[in-house]
């Protein structure tokens, strides 16, 4: 098998097509027991905020059919500790690192970008404007054209021009294509999609929502058809904007589906919890799926499902 698995997200070249998904691999270190993290397409780190954050009360998860709900609520050490402890480990270990940032306000996003701007070892910035685990739905910037453009425009103005900015979108909107268009106009170089869907599980013994945070984000294979649809729609509208695709990718076949829909690279999220070696396994399986069908590279199948018209 001689399939070329390399790909790119705009100006960012990736040696492998699979990355971890934000929030599903912490800052990569724990996965090192299961594989060489530097051989992954990259690690997308858990969304970091300016200050330390303790997240939402537990229980923070509920298993659902072919999926799960989480309500972590962006627990993290804050940007300074992140740079000092996590980013340094990633850089030392030669990991392609995409730093995900989350802010409670447009200004906080701007400040995060400014703080990270001159830190070495960042391959791209993922701007999480779509976390459902915040206290008010109004804080989900990506639900609205204006707020999502505001965030991206501000981050753009604080960021450098060499390193791509990916905007992370939620599918919980009436029209994801128009949100995608807004953030690209505002300066995003690429899109990460999709974030989780807002969901709830009720504990019928306690007669209250199962999660401490009441609602949570639904992820895993259950949501894959929604993710593939979103990637397909957005790629159709914005064929030149690279997409980091995710949502329930479990094996090489699923990965190929996202590429065909228009993703240029893939983040592996929930499936890592069940199989920590999944990001490596899926890259290998993707190679086999491509080979079996006579393809020589990842690149040639990106968006291929659009050609049939």
């Amino acid at each position: 098998m001689s399939v070329d698995l390399s790909t790119s997200l705009g100006s960012l070249k990736l040696s492998a097509p699979t990355l971890t998904a934000s929030g599903c691999a912490a800052a990569g270190r724990e996965l090192a027991q299961f594989g060489d993290v530097s051989t992954l397409g990259g690690v997308v780190t858990k969304s970091i905020m300016l200050n330390a954050r303790s997240g939402r009360p537990t229980p923070r998860m509920a298993e659902t059919p072919s999926g799960m709900l989480n309500s972590i609520g962006l627990q993290g050490p804050g940007i300074e500790q992140f740079i000092e402890k996590d980013l340094s480990w990633l850089t030392e270990n030669g990991v392609t690192t995409i730093v995900s940032i989350a802010g409670g306000s447009v200004a906080e996003f701007g400040e995060l970008a400014r703080r990270l701007r001159d830190v070495p070892g960042i391959a791209a910035l993922e701007v999480n404007i779509s976390c459902p685990n915040v206290e008010s739905r109004g804080q989900v910037f990506a639900c609205n054209h204006e707020s999502s453009s505001d965030v991206i425009r501000t981050v753009r103005s604080e960021w450098n021009d060499e390193t791509p900015i990916l905007a992370k979108l939620t599918p919980d909107v009436t029209d994801i294509v128009s949100i995608a268009q807004s953030v690209v106009e505002a300066g995003a170089n690429g899109l990460s999609m999709i974030n989780t869907l807002l969901g709830m599980v009720i504990d019928v013994d306690a007669m209250k929502p199962m999660l401490g945070g009441k609602t949570g984000g639904l992820s895993g294979p259950a949501i894959r058809p929604v993710a593939v649809r979103a990637v397909y729609q957005v790629h159709a509208a914005l064929p030149d904007t690279p997409i980091l695709g995710m949502g329930g990718i479990r094996n090489g076949h699923d990965a190929l589906e996202f590429l065909a829909a228009g993703a240029s690279a893939l983040s592996i999220g929930t499936v890592v919890f069940g199989d920590p070696s999944a990001p490596w396994r899926i890259a290998r399986e993707l190679g086999e799926e491509l080979d079996k069908r006579g393809y020589q590279s990842v690149r040639e199948v990106i968006g291929k499902a659009h050609q049939a018209g």
């Binding site: 929030g23 599903c24 691999a25 912490a26 724990e30 996965l31 027991q33 299961f34 858990k46 200050n51 330390a52 954050r53 303790s54 997240g55 939402r56 009360p57 537990t58 229980p59 923070r60 998860m61 298993e63 059919p65 072919s66 999926g67 799960m68 989480n70 972590i72 627990q75 993290g76 050490p77 804050g78 409670g104 306000s105 915040v134 206290e135 804080q139 401490g212 895993g220 294979p221 929930t270 499936v271 890592v272 919890f273 069940g274 199989d275 920590p276 070696s277």
Partner: protein
Amino acid sequence: MSSSQQITSTITSISRVGAYWHMVLRAPSIADAVVPGHFVAVAVGGDNSSMLLRRAFSIHNATPGESIEVIFAEHGAGTEWLAKQQAGAELDIIAPLGTPFILPRAAVPCVLVAGGYGSAPMGMLARALKKMGCHVEVILGAATGERLYGVLDLKRDADNVTVTTDDGSSGIRGRVTDVLPEIIGQSGAQAVYACGPMPMLRAVANLSTEHSVFSQCAVEEAMACGIGVCMTCVLPVIGEDGHTRMVRSCVEGPVFRGDRVRWDDVHTVPSDAVGAPIPGGH
């Protein structure tokens, strides 16, 4: 953090014991690395399962170069599936996981307290402590006699075993904490080890602290990943610096110092925790 392995393991035997199942898993290289308090995470439901997440079980026993053992209760769909498996079937497992019990530095008297299947790790622990020369007292509690596990084995492994049941169907009617103070007193215990339901752990930890005895508790929090990457399994723990943090029970635990866990605040984020929500803020 110990280095964990993900392997395909064959079930060597699986059988019913009282209200529980005892399962032996072939896992030569893993067994070598296991110490008391480690846990294993098992994938359930087979290919095409709608259950994505692993189930965590304390490691009950490890035979180096051969196998590990677990004791489990049928709880929901995952453990029901597991109970239907037969010897010869293969399971995808990850182990050893977690921060195990810390053994005392010297041969001091110890009390091991377990509720229900919480007795699973206690045999290994008792043997390790005995080997060091510690006097080992065990207190086993359960709702009913049927839900006690391993009384006979522990009688062999430890110096003394006291049994309590809520309904009095076996041993003393009452709770483990009804007998704990007396046994601490009599044995001159300098360390308490506990595994069982959260309310029991809280009571055991608090009693131990009241009696100025150092305690270690193996907690049980819902875990999505078991390896430290998801942040679902946190509880409020006071660090060396006196600050409370929401700490991952899968890697920093499941064994915590009993006096460090904010038992009354489990399932909440205490307002003085590092990074707690600022009222009015986000």
